[in-house]
């Protein structure tokens, strides 16, 4: 009988918090094979196989259906697919890995508090600098979808894979879209969040892939896991 593959983060805080959560549900995770292997199992749930995957790749695995379920941030899932509603099902919010995806601008922009204000300044900015304001982010798709919904299109995205919050001060971008938990890093970099600039309040989720190969047997295994996690 085939097993349900559950992808969980292979390192970092998210992995620790995931392991803790399983422990609180009375489930202990064990790596199989050699000690540094990428496979594991859950004691007492023989129908589930664990795949240790980096959290950003978990979203891709859910999207392609190469795993049945995964634990990862909602932000990463929504960023990696434009059709999340059809590709995956968010089974459970897990209460850790909190991160808000936000639009932040220099705090010295006293005249800008909302996306509508950004619209106001985009054309004069272009007149003065010969280009649209640049938005540094690794969340290109979330950014585009959010601004499109607000009717704001006069900007350029510059892809940023690290230290995004430093790009406005460095002159590499005018504003950013990034994740924050307390807002402290943003403040330290001279940035403020727009009043209507919260794109997504994200946390770790148990997510099921709708495009993986499912059977009633595997659905049953998924439900057994959910019952255990809901009992925490």
């Amino acid at each position: 009988m085939s097993k349900l593959t559950l992808a969980i983060p292979s390192k970092g805080r998210l992995m620790e918090q995931t392991t803790d959560m399983f422990a609180r549900a009375g489930l202990s995770l064990r790596k199989t094979g050699h000690a540094r292997g990428y496979r594991g199992e859950i004691e007492g749930l023989p129908d589930i196989e664990i795949a240790y995957v980096s959290s950003s790749e978990i979203a891709a695995a859910l999207k392609s259906g190469s795993v049945h379920c995964g634990i990862t941030g909602e932000d990463l899932v929504r960023e990696s697919m434009s059709d999340a509603a059809t590709r995956v099902t968010f089974l459970k919010r897990l209460g850790f890995g909190f991160a808000d995806v936000v639009v932040a601008v220099p705090a010295c922009w006293i005249d800008v508090a909302t996306v509508a204000d950004l619209e106001d300044i985009a054309v004069p900015f272009r007149r003065a600098h010969g280009r649209w304001p640049r938005v540094a982010t690794k969340y290109m798709n979330l950014t585009r979808a959010f601004f499109a919904e607000k009717g704001f299109g006069d900007y350029r995205i510059v892809e940023s894979l690290g230290a995004t919050e430093g790009t406005p001060a460095a002159g590499a971008a005018e504003l950013i879209v990034d994740i924050t938990t307390t807002g402290e890093t943003l403040r330290a970099n001279g940035l403020k969040i727009l009043d209507d600039g919260v794109i997504l309040k994200s946390e770790a989720n148990l997510v099921a892939s709708n495009v993986a190969a499912w059977s009633p047997w595997l659905r049953n295994a998924q439900n057994t896991l959910l019952v255990k996690l809901n009992a925490i």
Binding site: W109, I110, D111, I121, H129, W132, G153, D154
Partner: protein, 392 residues
């Protein structure tokens, strides 16, 4: 289209040859711009919304490039490369592939790769004549390959600006509404703000800063802003300068003290936007709308009438032209006339051809100033399927 038969390829090629010969006979020089273009020009011209539909990639040298999403910007770049003075008169035509990502999935009506045949005309100061000739030539071209029952749909951004002008809006409000025109939702919100509480936005601004600003004195106001930032421990960072912020703040200050826009002016703008119907009578309807308005859109209306007369002279049947004031809203870079050619049996979002005036595009592509420009492109796969569909 991606999967095509040799037969269909041959049919498209034959159709393209006919189209191009109509264009070249009318004095348009055939050019063949590069398929791979610098991404910057497109993204800066069109903004991020089209980037999501453009195939952008980085080459091994790190340069950001794209597959051209249309051929108009590449033709502008050819013109600029040839002429130190961009205001040199020129007429070009082309036939080639363009590429657009289709977020809802590519299909026959919305292919990710399609061929455009089109014309561009630069620096012609006889504005309405250039516009009428461009539209008439596109109609002649589609007729020459067998599309007889077309309809032409036109809009006019010049008329819209003239109506704003006639409504006696301050420059900064005209600018706001002009920019919001492309986004119906934002337009409605902005018009409502202007007619109810133009100062609403300034309420979010710190009162102690507003008090220290000096209307009409940018320098003193900038000093006030810097003092405010300093006393609140806010560092000035980034590329946007204090002077730019001050200009925006002074506009907000003006708005705070401004009288709301007259309800009758807002009504006039809204009734203009509701005008839609036969092009031949739309001019009269707009003129009636503006009766009694001093300095109404005389010149813009004259241009509208002159353009129609020129189209009639060129043999275009005015009964087959419709006008709508709202048309042009989804098209980012047009500045005056906009038009679309449609064919019966084709879905409404799939026009056979489209074009118009875009005087600002050449500057975005690198010219030192605006250059008069009119052009249009035919979606050749759609044209072929409209023509063969009609025959079968």
């Amino acid at each position: 289209m991606t999967a095509e038969t040799a037969l269909k390829f041959a049919a498209l090629e034959a159709q393209a040859q006919t189209l191009m010969s109509v264009f070249t006979k009318a004095g348009h020089e055939a050019v063949a711009p590069a398929v791979i273009q610098p991404a910057d020009v497109f993204l800066d011209v069109i903004g991020e919304s089209l980037r999501a539909r453009t195939y952008v990639f980085t080459d091994p040298d790190g340069a950001e490039l794209c597959l051209r999403p249309d051929l108009t910007v590449p033709v502008c770049r050819i013109h600029l490369a040839r002429h130190a003075n961009p205001e040199t008169q020129a007429k070009y035509c082309y036939n080639g592939s363009a590429f657009r990502f289709q977020p809802q999935g590519a299909d026959a009506a919305h292919p990710r790769e399609f061929r455009q045949a089109g014309i561009e005309r630069f620096a012609d100061s006889a504005r309405e004549a250039a516009e009428a000739e461009t539209a008439a030539l596109i109609l002649k071209a589609v007729e020459s390959v067998g599309l007889k029952n077309w309809t032409l749909h036109i809009g006019d951004l010049g008329l819209f600006r003239a109506v704003l002008d006639a409504a006696k809006l301050p420059q900064r409000w005209q600018k706001n509404l002009g920019e919001a025109f492309l986004r119906p939702g934002a337009f409605k919100t902005e018009l409502k703000r202007l007619t109810t509480e133009p100062g609403a936005r300034s309420r979010a601004l710190p009162e102690d800063l507003l008090r220290d600003l000096v209307p009409g004195d940018a320098e003193a106001s900038e000093a006030a802003l810097l003092a405010y930032l300093d006393s609140n421990g806010i560092e000035l960072i980034g590329n946007r300068t204090a002077a730019e912020m001050v200009a925006h703040l002074l506009d907000a200050l003006k708005d705070r003290d401004a009288k709301p826009l007259d309800a009758s002016a807002a009504a006039m703008i809204e009734s203009y936007l509701a005008v839609s119907g036969p092009a031949a009578t739309a001019g009269t309807r707009i003129a009636n709308l503006l009766t009694g308005v001093k300095g109404g859109p005389g010149a813009a209306l004259d241009a509208y009438d002159r353009r129609l007369a020129l189209l009639a002279n060129a043999g275009v049947d005015l009964n087959r032209i419709t006008f709508s004031a709202e048309f042009g809203r989804s098209l980012a870079y047009y500045t005056g006339l906009v038009f679309e050619v449609s064919a019966p049996g084709m879905p409404p979002d799939s026009p056979i051809a489209g074009g118009g005036r875009y005087d600002g595009l050449m500057r975005s592509a690198g010219a030192s100033r605006d250059v008069a420009a009119v052009g249009a492109a035919i979606h050749t796969e759609r044209l072929l399927s409209a023509v063969t569909g009609a025959r079968s």
